[in-house]
Amino acid sequence: MRTTRDDSIFAWTASEGSLSTYRGLLARSPREFGNSHLMTQGNGTFATSNMGLRVELVLKPVMDEIGDDNVYLGLLNGLWNGRSIVAIVLRELEANKFARVCAQRLENVGDPKLENFNSIEDYTIPGDESPTAIYVEHKLRIPSLFQSRAIHAFCFKRGLFPEHAIPSYHVWAMRPTELALYGPAVMLIPRNADQHQHDFRVSPNEAIFLACVGLRINHRDEFSLGRSRMLMCGYNLSTGQAWCRVLGNDNWPAIGDSSEQWQFALGSHPVSQGGDIEALMSTDVAEERIKVNIVPGLYQDKICLLVHIDGLS
């Protein structure tokens, strides 16, 4: 790393990738260079630093299909087959801090010797041509205020403070069922309106995705069996905002009730429009307390909303 200036070291492709799959700049195995036979040496400037890899690249803002902000092409200095300019796709996490996204491909941004060199203008916004110094951590950390319009899923996890974990819960049901995965509990977020045809289409507004999670108390006591709480999680696909709320004892439908019942109940209820990233609920049962908070984070390389529920088993 210190002795080479060859930035073709960044010209690898992952077996899968998307705008919501975040990787660092370095490959995990030589296998990821399997398609890079034609990549020639580049004269780049990069070094390790206490903020991760520091790389100087020409960045071109990209207009992607989702409209997620802060996506850039990072132009490498190595050429494809000695001719075409090659770029990787980068997502800004916070000022000057990036992750590689869409790592399943290298962007071929035109052949400087051919007339189609301008093809890069088709999907980038004209910007500064001089290199920018960016930082990419090898083990990516997502800033707590990070927002994206390309979030992959809600992931339901045990809260970070077990001392609040009385009583303990498990996820026993989720809606919409078509997008729910169990063990560990994950709710996939639909990418666009076409994929929005699920059974829990409670929001009249297409851009808002709502998920309901049934939490059941782990109790040996027969008296408590069957008692459960519902947690509503919302995500605005056009702003990237997320929120959650523990539903009270008002007249909410049961989690298994029909979509029509849910649509009616949520109707103009504030929870279907927005809310807080934290939820706390005390109930009539003294020892029962549900504390939830949502932070952005990575789960299996995918950018997710990690829903921490204290006492979740």
Binding site: T4, D6, I9, W12, R31, G34, S36, H37
Partner: protein, 167 residues
């Protein structure tokens, strides 16, 4: 290790699983089939055996001479993707990191750091003087495998300049 191969007079490659069953009249066709189907070509360590020595002699499973490297450059390129210039000269100075990694992409080793070391042999010893730099690359290549890191650290500690308490 790379330099050791590079300075050799000749390197004999015994393809233990290669049998001439094709009865093809073309030596190149026969060799291509043998090479592509051999275990030798899938191993990480053997990449430097192929590139570095100026003379490589290939033998089949019954120790019959098959062909030399210099007379089958095109065939070897077709199987491995390594350019003929590199095969002929052993000169890696014009090859990019990505290309060298690509030649190793489908090669397997028993342990991830073996793969790292075989890559090291090919890419670094040839171009790098300081062994400490090489160890840094090993760290990179195996960083996603916690066990490999542990084993590698043990090895680094055993290396000259490390802990000599057990010497």
């Amino acid at each position: 290790m790379y330099r050791w191969y590079q300075q050799s007079e000749c390197c004999i490659v015994y393809l233990e699983d290669a049998k001439d069953t094709s009865h093809s009249r073309s030596k190149q066709v026969t060799f291509k089939r043998m090479l592509a189907g051999s275990r030798w070509i899938t191993r990480g360590w053997t990449l430097q055996e192929l590139i570095a020595p100026p003379v490589v002699l290939f033998y089949d499973s019954s120790w019959h001479f098959v062909i030399t490297k210099q007379s089958s450059l095109g065939t070897i390129r077709a199987v491995t993707g390594i350019p003929e210039y590199v095969l002929a000269t052993g000169d890696l100075s014009r090859s990019s990191v990505a290309q060298k990694m690509a030649w190793s992409a489908n090669r397997t080793t028993n342990r991830i750091e073996d793969l790292a070391y075989s890559l090291l042999g090919t890419f670094l010893i040839a171009s790098m003087a300081e062994p400490s730099q090489s160890l840094r690359l090993v760290r990179y290549l195996s960083s996603s495998h916690a066990n490999a890191i542990r084993r590698k650290r043990e090895r680094i500690h055993e290396a000259p300049g490390g802990d000599h308490a057990h010497d």
